[in-house]
Amino acid sequence: MKSLSDSALAARVAQDIPDGSYVNLGIGKPTHVSAHLPEGREVLYQSENGLLGVGPVPPTGAEDPELIDASKRFVTPATGAAYFDQTDSFAMMRGGHIDIAVLGAYQVAENGDLANWATLDEKYPPAVGGAMDLVVGVPTILVMMRHVNRDGSPKLLKTCSFPLTGLGVVSRVYTDLAVLDVTPAGFRLVELAPGNSLDAVQALTEATILT
């Protein structure tokens, strides 16, 4: 197996973000997509806490403690940015104004179901944030995650076992091993990460990968 680095994975996702898009990047790995946007494209990133136009992280010492993104990182405003409150922020998300959201996931099912907010561990408090609003409102949901869990168990499933975030909402999944589209028939291979075979990736995937 040859696994893409987090950075290479972010760069792969960034290739699919069209010029002029409005994009919400989820907490964790998706945050890094913006750093890899191909030259010549202008994209406005929305942060659910109230910023449209998330710019680069400021140099150390120049942070504004009240200017953060949804991952609680210090950021700067991009050219053309706007601040707003939570009701307007979620109107953008729920109302279909954002073009693309890139989210992390615990599990994705072959029908596009997404689980990324709660596990089956009752002692671990669930935390949903804006994920459920994004998946119902944003027309294109891209998922970005490791292909398998740390224990090797699959994350691309026939059916999610964890509580769902949204039903049939995922458009495409980017993992360190492959890119897969969600189609009415199930996962369809878009491409394999360099150095991997379909058989090897299928072996790490509960659902069937169509080609």
């Binding site: 942060s47 109230g50 009240e66 601040y83 939570q86 935390a127 944030g129 804006g130 769902l164």
Partner: protein, 221 residues
């Protein structure tokens, strides 16, 4: 009309045991740290806290959780980086938790402030967070009926305020503060700077009608 209050202690004095309190902020931004500390010092307990997060480290809402003052938390994301005290109280069964999707949380608070009886949202339809709730399908799309979320008090943080209660915010510190000011019966605003002249009407984000008292607390997070 003068809504200014001399100090934090006097601002939180009306809050009594068992009150429901909306607390502004997202992550470390826009949190009314001064008012929370004053509320903790006052000893008020049995609180229902409505907020996006449930505090981090030993500051903000974590102060109230550590001191055992919180009976229930209604929030979207209790686990924030550096959060300890919510987890301890939750694992010990000492605090109840209602998880609400972030947009639904904002919208429920707005419905309370705007006098609406509820709304239909596609958010959470078909998930565990819609269990037990009324749903309906309109034009092939599923919706959940959500109720307004009222509170006795709101503690908010603003960059600037005036004696009329008008507020303006700085950068992403705006977040839940304006909608909570609208949604609570009694809103207490901590402002970094209390302006001696009224704010320019074009720059007001929270009109003073939504604010019952204003106190200056210049410390920046």
């Amino acid at each position: 009309m003068d809504k200014t209050v001399a100090d934090l202690a006097r601002a939180v004095a009306p809050i009594t045991d068992g009150a429901s309190i909306m607390i502004g902020g997202f992550g470390s931004s826009g949190i009314p740290f001064g008012l929370i500390d004053a509320l903790c010092a006052q000893g008020t307990t049995g609180l229902t806290v409505i907020s996006n997060n449930a505090g981090a480290g030993e500051t903000g809402i974590a102060t109230l959780l550590k001191a055992g003052r919180v009976a229930k938390v209604i929030c979207s994301y209790p686990r924030t980086p550096g959060s300890i005290w919510f987890e301890r109280r939750y694992e010990a069964g000492e605090v109840a938790l209602e998880v609400v999707p972030q947009g639904t949380l904002a919208e429920r608070i707005r419905a309370a402030g705007a006098g609406l009886g509820g709304f239909l949202t596609p958010t959470a339809y078909g998930t565990r967070l819609a269990e037990g709730k009324e749903t309906r399908v309109i034009d092939g799309r599923g919706y959940v009926l959500e109720a307004p979320l009222h509170a006795d008090f709101a503690l908010v943080r603003a960059a600037r305020g005036d004696r009329y209660g008008n507020l303006s915010y700085h950068a992403t510190a705006r977040n839940f503060n304006p909608v909570m000011a609208m949604g609570a019966a009694h809103t207490i605003a901590e402002v970094r700077h209390l302006a001696s002249e009224p704010l320019d009407p074009e720059t007001v984000i929270t009109p003073g009608i939504f604010v019952q008292s204003v106190v200056e607390y210049g410390v920046r997070p």
